[in-house]
């Protein structure tokens, strides 16, 4: 927005009430999100403890079947009961849990003991982010461009682009991933089918490894970016079509504004929800492509979660779900704040002007 600060007298006067309104708006939003965060933590805390028998009993029983001796079992049981604080009343357990969370301590993995949950996540997270961030950004740019052009041009281009986008965006992303995997890695084997890098290679900062990782990158990236492009294009097109019919477009024409000026107005109004969409999808960086990663055995958060679920590794599951929830909450909160600052209409609504 090309808003200038040098506008004549009175601007400050109009802004003054807006500022206090903005603070109130932010305060209210912050309260809501804190509440949501608390609920998420509580869910994360309570649900694994509701499992019939507690997770410790389950894991120890599993170890027992594995032939571990009785006295050892007892020691392991006592260790875990202590670590989870299961010998204390529930509310104390919750406080201890909160205390651990504040220090970034997500506990110890059952299945890969003694690896810490935060350590496992720290290994997986960069892969997920490296996969999704470019897919989201590129998909957003291409999708919005496509949608805007479709709305503006109309006709057959519009219909074709719209139906195509509707198809890729409504297609479940994991279905697209499976089909792409089969087509490009199995039926016509041009790309490697599995993993984040070749078997035998290990993550390091060498040209060799980066090149190897890039060839493994294409398939999962492609499957994600196509879905993003479709979704953004559909959204942008319908926003732009809606704006094209609005009164200010007609008035702008009536004043002889150039087409590109009017298009600028249209896109400024249509972009707002799209920018929100971008910020919101950044929140799904962590948990947005769980199944894509499973399909391609990509060494990210999704694969970690999949293994943890199949091994009843509750601390890892709980840590991951919490991380996914926090990422989404933080992104949503940032969006609401940005929205409150950017969009004057929302500021107005929060002040009760409309």
């Amino acid at each position: 927005m090309a808003l200038t600060a040098d506008l004549t007298a009175g601007t400050a006067e109009a802004e003054a009430p807006a500022r206090s309104g903005l603070l109130r708006y932010l305060g209210r939003k912050a309260a809501w999100y804190l509440g949501a965060l608390l609920v998420a933590v509580l869910l994360n805390f309570l649900l694994p403890r509701l499992i019939p028998g507690n997770p410790v009993d389950a894991i120890v029983a599993g170890l027992g079947r594995g032939g571990v001796e009785g006295s050892q079992l007892h020691a392991i049981h006592a260790h875990y009961v202590h670590e989870f604080g299961l010998d204390k009343p529930l509310w104390q357990q919750f406080l201890v849990h909160l205390g651990h969370l504040v220090h970034g301590d997500l506990g110890t993995s059952f299945a890969q003991s003694p690896a810490s949950v935060s350590g496992l996540i720290a290994q997986a997270l960069p892969w997920s982010i490296a996969l999704q961030l470019p897919a989201i950004l590129i998909g957003w740019l291409v999708g919005n461009g496509l949608g805007a052009v479709a709305a503006y041009r109309g006709g057959w281009f519009d219909r074709g682009a719209f139906l195509g986008s509707l198809f890729t965006s409504s297609m479940p992303y994991y279905c697209l991933a499976i089909l792409l995997l089969y087509l490009l890695a199995v039926a016509v084997p041009v790309l490697p089918p599995t993993g984040g890098y070749s078997f035998g290679n290990s993550p390091e900062l060498s040209a060799d490894f980066v090149l190897d990782a890039l060839t493994h990158y294409w398939l999962p990236f492609l499957s994600l970016v196509l879905v993003f492009v479709g979704g953004q294009a559909v959204g942008m097109r319908s926003m732009a079509v809606y704006e094209l019919g609005s009164d200010y477009v007609n008035y702008g024409r009536g004043l002889g504004l150039r087409d590109r000026t009017i298009v600028r107005y249209i896109f400024r109004n249509a972009m707002l929800p799209q920018v929100t969409g971008l910020a919101l999808s950044i929140g799904t960086l962590v948990g947005g492509a769980l199944i894509t990663e499973i399909v391609f055995s990509y060494p990210g958060v999704g694969t970690l979660l999949f293994t943890a679920i199949s091994q009843n590794d509750y601390p890892v599951v709980a840590g991951l779900t919490l991380l996914i929830a926090v990422a989404v909450l933080v992104a949503n909160f940032c969006v609401e704040i940005a929205y409150g600052i950017i969009d004057p209409r929302i500021r107005a609504a929060s002040r009760g002007e409309r």
């Binding site: 499976i178 890695a185 399909v295 996914i324 929830a325």
Partner: protein
């Protein structure tokens, strides 16, 4: 008053076909019982097993019919649950306003803020064993908030219409007001919300199943994909194990979305681009025309 587009007919046709396949398929094609072992690991399609066999020698076609049935059951029941809860919460909040609205919408917004996949994973793990119905209820119970939020806005706008004053003056109670004077005006909207809820429930079921949290002991489209992935059917080229459920899921999701968007076009004509006016009195003409007629 409403003219249905070809898009609507195509979408409705696909949805109906998938429904028929899931409901009547198992009654018509009785070649193999569900769970019967009819061959080895990933046998190619043949005369007896039309779509080959899966990783434990079950007939894929039979799995597909029952899987479709399970997925649809979960989708429809979950959609019904979600829409019902959403409508009750949304109408109450929108119609009553005040403290009731504040409280209900507060709860709704909090639940809405937490990603549903997290709640789904946690509840599914806590449940241990999951029946089809339990899955459906869990999916429904976690996805009502956005319906509630949208319904609230609709109900709040209906509330201010004049016919409600008339009904109120004639002594109608709150319950009958909501049932006869508020909800009917949102039916078109509820219809679309339900379609969306069904489609998202079907897809969420598949996602959960692929994570390994699907309905226990049964077969659904998602579970078929789960096994196909776990047993490397994709990399070994056993396309018959994963292509059919993939195609069905895609078809279903696409058709439901298309159904929703063509319903939206019928109910919300501003989205319609290529309007050709045949008569002067179309129910809801595009804005330029409306302006002229208001003159």
């Amino acid at each position: 008053m409403t003219r249905l587009t070809p898009r609507f007919h195509v979408a409705a046709g696909i949805v109906a076909a998938v429904l028929l396949f899931g409901l009547l398929g198992p009654l018509v094609f009785r070649g193999h019982a569900l769970g019967a072992v009819v061959g080895g690991l990933y046998d190619h399609p043949s005369g007896s097993a039309w779509l080959g066999t899966d990783n434990i020698g079950h007939d894929v076609f039979t799995n597909l019919m029952y899987g479709t049935r399970t997925s649809l059951t979960i989708g429809l029941v979950a959609g019904l649950f979600a829409t019902l809860i959403g409508v009750v919460v949304g109408t109450l909040a929108g119609y009553r306003g005040g403290a009731v609205e504040e409280a209900l919408m507060g709860v709704t917004n909090v639940i809405l803020a937490i990603p549903s996949i997290v709640v789904l994973i946690l509840i599914s793990i806590a449940l241990g064993t999951r029946s089809t119905l339990a899955m459906a209820v869990v999916l429904g119970v976690t996805s009502w908030p956005w319906t509630a939020r949208a319904v609230r806005a609709q109900a709040a706008s209906v509330r201010t219409r004049e016919h409600l004053d008339v009904a109120r003056l004639s002594g109608a109670g709150t319950f009958s007001l909501i049932c006869y004077d508020v909800v009917p005006y949102m039916l078109s909207y509820l219809c679309m919300a339900f379609v969306l809820q069904v489609s998202s429930a079907v897809l969420n079921e598949a996602a959960l199943s692929m994570l390994g949290l699907g309905p226990s002991g049964g077969v659904s489209l998602g579970i078929m994909l789960h096994w196909a992935l776990a047993w490397e059917s994709v990399r070994t080229g056993a396309w018959w194990a994963f292509v059919p459920p993939t195609v069905l899921l895609t078809l279903l999701a696409f058709a439901l979305l298309m159904l929703q968007s063509s319903l939206d076009e019928v109910f919300n004509p501003r989205l319609r681009r290529f309007v050709r006016r045949r008569r002067t009195t179309v129910a809801a003409p595009p804005p330029a025309v409306r302006k002229a007629e208001a003159a």
